[in-house]
């Protein structure tokens, strides 16, 4: 299996605080990889460094897009990184609240479409075809995450769980080979979490996408991950299969021995 994302010795300092301390991580084709750790461990900061929201203080972030040449993406702008094929969701939901559900997903198509100002004004054949394709693709994604009925609703009118799924659909609209999900189950009830679990696996199997996710819900993580990385205080303290992580004494200590067995 080819490696898609390769992070080596990633470090991020905020003033005197080292939020991420030389962390390494790999995601291979077709994998679901989880990144776990207690609150404030630096997981979101790690995501922000990989997706270009922050420029890491040190280390390398290498992407190997399938069929294209390897790229070091440290310090590139977020939109450039998304265009190379990695899309993310946010822990504190960041939808476009006053746009409709469908439009939110259509925004994701922006970097894969080409209409410019003149094309948009003239609205020629090509533009119309592209627009139709954008709408159709976006609608299909909404069907996939189960939001098709709500296509015309404003994003901020959706219930919490639906907003999280909409973020996933929007990220998928950018045609990524790797999806980065930051706590996709946060705030969901057990039923919704269970459905999300199935959805993530389905995305991996049908969508030809690999997934890197941060999650606190141990049941979900243990169920669906191929491999797990554990962080604490910015450092990577363990990595391995769910079975190995479950029995790792360091991890049990970090979690006070409770949640891992949940």
């Amino acid at each position: 299996m080819s490696v898609l994302l390769e992070v080596k010795g990633l470090t991020m300092d905020f003033g005197g605080l080292r939020a991420v301390d030389s962390v390494g991580l790999e995601v291979r084709q077709g994998e679901i990889v989880a990144l776990i750790g207690p609150n404030g461990a630096g997981k979101t900061t790690f995501f922000n460094c990989v997706t270009g929201i922050y420029t890491p203080t040190g280390g390398d972030v290498l992407v190997h897009p399938p069929g294209k040449k390897t790229r070091r993406i440290n310090g590139l702008k977020p939109n450039v990184i998304t265009t190379t094929g990695m899309a993310r969701t946010f822990q504190n939901i960041r939808l476009f609240p006053n746009m409709t559900v469908l439009e939110n997903v259509m925004i994701g198509r922006h970097c894969r479409t080409t209409t410019n100002i003149i094309g948009a004004v003239l609205r020629g054949k090509r533009t119309r075809a592209q627009e139709r394709e954008t709408i159709e693709k976006s609608y299909r994604l909404l069907e996939k995450v189960g939001l098709a009925e709500l296509a015309g609703e404003f994003a901020n009118n959706l219930p919490y769980g639906a907003q999280r799924r909409l973020e996933i659909a929007r990220a998928m609209a950018t045609d990524p080979f790797l999806l980065l999900l930051d706590e996709p189950a946060a705030g969901m009830n057990p039923q919704e979490t269970h459905e999300l679990d199935a959805l993530i696996v389905r995305i991996r199997n049908e969508g030809n996408m690999s997934i890197l996710l941060i999650e606190h819900d141990m049941k979900l993580v243990m169920n669906i991950s191929d491999r797990i990385y554990v962080m604490e205080y910015g450092k990577e303290i363990a990595k391995g299969t769910p079975q190995e992580i479950r029995n790792n004494p360091k991890v049990i200590e970090a979690y006070l021995g409770e949640e891992v067995h949940a």
Binding site: T51, I53, K77, P78, N79, T82, T83, A87, R88, F90, R94, L95, F96, P97, N98, M99, T100, L102, E103, M106, I107, G108, R109, H110, C111, R112, T113, T115, N116, I117, A120, V121, R123, T127, Q130, E131, T134, I135, E136, Y139, R140, E143, A148, A151, G152, F154, R170, A171, A173, T174
Partner: protein, 407 residues
């Protein structure tokens, strides 16, 4: 009852506050104090009524919000919304407006036509600023600078080189857009208050340059003898020319509405809106923020440039006093009053704000007072503007059917 009590209290409070001013008067001639109790009574009555009406209005507003949802939680569309969504009503209204616009110059005097041309210029300005502020969410308090730049471009090109109106019209727009990009670059990273200050400064700088660069812009005395818009070299009387400018401006408004409307419902327009909604999510979804911001500034400025060219051709004379902060503020109010992002709202607001003061000259002294009062009332009762932006409905029925066929 609650509001009755509160209103009584407000009235008493104002009676107390105004007591020294309106009731007590020391008559220095006779050396005695006059007690004008009647005044106190009037203050009490007036403030009681005002306060009562105010409270009732607020209450109604609250109720409306609660009632607007039917049992499915769907919003019941008000008449205004229906007006702009139902294509049958919509087309009729547009046809009526167009007919009125064609008849207008043959019914009214040239003075009134001239004012209408000015109002239409502000419609174009409003629609232009609506792109920057309403769609892309980038505050711009110096918008009038681009208007001035367009106006001076034509004035100079015409008086110095004799270039004609039609040739200069696109040039004015492009020069405006160019300066839009120039302003955009330094403020790419700014937000909120900082953005407000820098754009405000840009507007002032433009005016100061027009005023003080005597060599080029003729300073405060301005540039005169600018050519009116021509029609294949046809000789026109002043009145004919006014009518001609009017129709030109009507076409210009139609053109602007057409272009802005198409952009709004396109990949570009959606990117602008996404930028307004959430910058970080916007870049994380692959949108180039710098390019999107610059295009929003440039495109907004483009319309100001065009409007500027027409403005100087209509006036045949311009000086820096036409391009003060006041004009920026008016255009911004047009956008806010009309409803951020709403094309029809902006048109109505522009006509109202420019025409009303012209026809209510008697109250000219109170213009700013009324202006401020209206803005405050708007912010309280209709913060979304006169007409809230109607989101485009996408026709998904074909897609939905396909799905049913599959299953």
């Amino acid at each position: 009852m609650q509001s009755f009590k509160k209103s009584v209290f407000v009235a008493l409070w104002f009676m107390f506050l105004t007591f020294p001013l309106l009731v007590v008067r020391v008559n220095t001639l006779k050396g005695e104090v006059e007690w004008r109790w009647m005044n106190m009574l009037w203050v009490g009555i007036v403030f009681f009524i005002l306060s009562y009406v105010w409270r009732a209005a607020l209450e109604r507003k609250g109720q409306k919000k609660a009632n607007n949802l039917d049992e499915d939680g769907e919003e019941i569309l008000g008449f205004r919304q229906r007006l702009f969504q139902d294509p049958v009503i919509y087309r009729k209204v547009i046809a009526a407006v167009l007919i009125a616009a064609v008849i207008f110059p043959f019914v009214f005097s040239s003075y009134q036509i001239n004012i209408m041309v000015l109002a239409l210029i502000f419609v174009v300005l409003g629609l232009g600023l609506n792109i920057t502020v309403g769609l892309a969410g980038l505050l711009d308090l110096g918008y009038v600078a681009f208007f001035g730049i367009g106006a001076y471009s034509y004035a100079l090109l015409n008086t110095l080189y004799g270039w004609n109106f039609w040739f200069c019209l696109p040039i004015g727009g492009l020069v405006g857009a160019l300066f839009g990009v120039l302003l955009g670059f330094p403020i790419l990273r700014l937000r909120g208050d900082y953005l407000a200050i820098v754009t405000l400064g840009f507007g002032s700088i433009a005016k100061i340059v027009f005023e003080n660069w005597d060599g080029l812009f003729k300073g405060a005395s301005g540039i005169a003898n600018i050519e009116r818009p021509g029609f294949f070299g046809l000789e026109m009387s002043l009145e004919q020319s006014t009518i001609y400018t009017y129709f030109l401006m009507v076409l210009m408004v139609i053109f602007t509405v057409f272009v802005v409307n198409r952009l709004k419902d396109s990949r570009i327009g959606r990117a602008w809106m996404a930028l307004r909604e959430d910058e970080i999510a916007c870049v994380a979804m692959g949108i180039d923020m710098a390019r999107t911001k610059l295009s929003a500034y440039a495109f907004g400025a483009f319309w100001a440039g065009l409007a500027g060219v027409i403005f100087s051709a209509r006036n045949t004379y311009i000086n820096p006093n036409s391009f003060t902060f006041m004009e920026s503020a008016i255009v911004l109010s047009i956008v806010v009053l009309g409803g951020m992002g709403s094309i029809i709202g902006v048109i109505i607001a522009a006509l109202a704000l420019i025409l009303m003061p012209e026809y209510l000259r008697a109250f000219a002294d109170y213009r700013m007072l009324a202006f401020g009062g209206i803005m405050v009332l708007m912010m309280i009762f209709r913060p979304q503007g006169l007409i809230s932006d109607v989101r485009r409905k996408y026709d998904l029925s074909a897609l939905q059917k396909k799905k049913e066929a599959k299953t």
